[in-house]
Symmetry: C2
Subunit: 352 residues, 2 copies
């Protein structure tokens, strides 16, 4: 390392591609070629350059990269970071990305659609190479328009007709059917679904899909007429209130399918408080198989859609699109039942 180089390091000046080029005695273009392992690089050149990079501890500037070409970053957009389902998705994404030279940057949008759009735009403005949107609330046309600027994969967004972007989903209709079938198998006929309040529900959302599956399974069992769905508001004060009202209803059903573990677990807690025994008085099944559901204290049966797998698949799909695919892909996964104590007193089911 030359004296000049050492001074540079001490001065804390940035080591740029130019520093590396000078140090290796080659051109800037040559270094760039090696970095991107582009065509037309001899072994000798490659060695010189990689040595120089190593020695100087050079890291390319992502900002500059983004300005010209790929930034090797993919953006992940989350709504509502509180849902225990999301960490799994992230883990899946990171798992696939780890061995590659890509990295994930996560943006968290709270409830407002406004923020959601501006966060996506920011990611585009950063010249990220692709986006994974998890449970976006945006209308399909808007996503399609954004997709003309950047490759997009939507997770938890049912729009199998989309041509501009890909979707990766668990089969939420089927998941709901499985839940109902499990309740039926335990002998319950009087089954109700606890779903999410109106506000959130465009047809493409997972919640609406689960409602469809619920209705279909009930119909199939000849219970179509009694298949009722209650909507639970998402915000704290009204939410518990509505659940309490549900629990104290005289015509309370024998079994309930909750659209999400989040609601199911709160329901279990309120039931305990109010002296409603689970599963003797009320059987409960949730959705997501979150880690809390698995706790012995909670012991909630749930539908498992592996978030980790969803994240992995979404990432792989995104990468193929970044690397050139133009036709849309719409991938489904089949969820599975995890039976636990909230379903039935003593059964052959696994779980404590």
């Amino acid at each position: 390392m030359s004296i000049e180089d050492k001074q540079r390091l001490q001065r804390n000046d940035r080591v740029t591609i130019r520093t590396v080029a000078k140090h290796a005695g080659v051109s800037v273009a040559a270094v760039s070629k090696v970095m991107r392992n582009a065509y037309g690089v001899s072994e000798g050149l490659r060695a010189k350059v990689t040595d120089a990079i190593e020695e100087l501890g050079y890291r390319p500037s992502r900002a500059a990269r983004g300005l010209r070409g790929r930034s090797f970053t993919i953006g992940v957009l989350l709504i509502d970071i509180r849902n225990p389902f999301l960490p799994e998705v992230i883990a899946g994404v990171n798992g696939v990305l780890a061995p590659s030279h890509y990295q994930a940057m996560i943006g968290v949008s709270d409830a407002r659609v406004q923020l959601e759009t501006s966060l996506i735009e920011s990611m585009i403005d950063y010249k990220m190479d692709g986006l994974i949107l998890v449970a976006p609330r945006l209308p399909s046309e808007i996503i399609a328009k954004l997709a003309s600027e950047i490759p997009i994969v939507a997770v938890g967004y049912h729009d199998a007709g989309a041509t501009a972007f890909d979707t990766v989903n668990a089969d939420d209709q089927r998941g709901a059917e499985i839940a109902v079938e499990a309740l039926l198998a335990c002998g319950y006929r009087d089954i109700e679904m606890l779903s999410l309040g109106e506000r959130e529900g465009h047809q493409v959302s997972v919640v609406r899909q689960r409602e469809i599956g619920f209705r279909r399974a009930m119909q199939r069992a000849g219970l179509g007429s009694s298949a009722s769905i209650s909507k639970i508001p998402i915000a704290p004060p009204k939410r518990e209130e509505t659940m309490r009202k549900f629990l104290s209803r005289k015509n309370r059903p024998r079994a309930v399918f909750c659209w999400s573990d989040l609601d199911a677990i709160t329901l279990l807690s309120l039931a305990m408080e109010m002296g409603v025994r689970v599963p003797e008085d009320l059987a409960v099944i949730g959705y997501d198989n979150s880690s809390t559901a698995a706790l012995g204290l909670v012991n909630l049966a749930s539908i498992d859609q592996s978030g980790r797998e969803l994240g992995q698949v979404a990432t792989r799909t995104l990468i193929t699109r970044i690397e050139g695919r133009t036709s849309a892909e719409h991938i489904f996964q089949i969820p599975s039942l995890v039976s636990r104590g909230s379903l039935i007193r003593s059964s052959n089911a696994k779980g404590a």
Copy 2:
């Protein structure tokens, strides 16, 4: 809007600062000045430019901005996204940032220190304006070195001697004392702490601080000699095993203070399975006051360190440093007790 402009929009060409300048009939520099609301802009000019921006829907490229000046992005580094404490911190950060022109990008590092460093470097390479590190596992010197390249605030990292970066913490020593005092007030004398396995524990970590507080409070109560701490491994198979062993010990203490709700809740679950009654046989108090602890089913007393507030304070601190402060700040917050059923049978304490 000129015909040329419309064509550009249709072709989906990026609207750049140059487009805006041409459309407003001013120079590029003028537009830039307006954007940054720099000195030397007349009302007339500002109006022309903002109109043009509005009309063309111009958004500055973050990539290009990062290359030259500020990127108006702050990076948040999380380890272990599964901890229910973290979403609160994020919410706090986003809350403070929302009205500003800054945005947060989150990076999630799993257990490996290697990834942690490379993620931070990436954020530097993106020319982010500042970093919030949550519970970093890096040694102080490394953080200090990174801090020479970018403003850094560490949350959950006790290093009040650091001069190169700021820290924001709940007073974990005091929190542990409060926990012990609560147990003492209930009449328990035989108290043990369940802490985290060796691996994680540099002196600066919150865990070690809680241990110190635990010892001090016990000492103060004249129980210094019997103040023992058990370490629970972090990984799944050994973790439960160690807890079970603890629960079936013949000299099991009367009360236990867990370093985190995460462990406390698992402990409650195992206790139920094994027929150890809480709080009759064993009183439990946790740390973090996570949303799960508040569930009626769980009903775990816990120490509350408002993650949201921590996130807010960290963000405000970071911004002042970005805007020029050079002296280090080390901020403490006092945690508080949230009493619940895991503490004592029937008391005046709030909670179900």
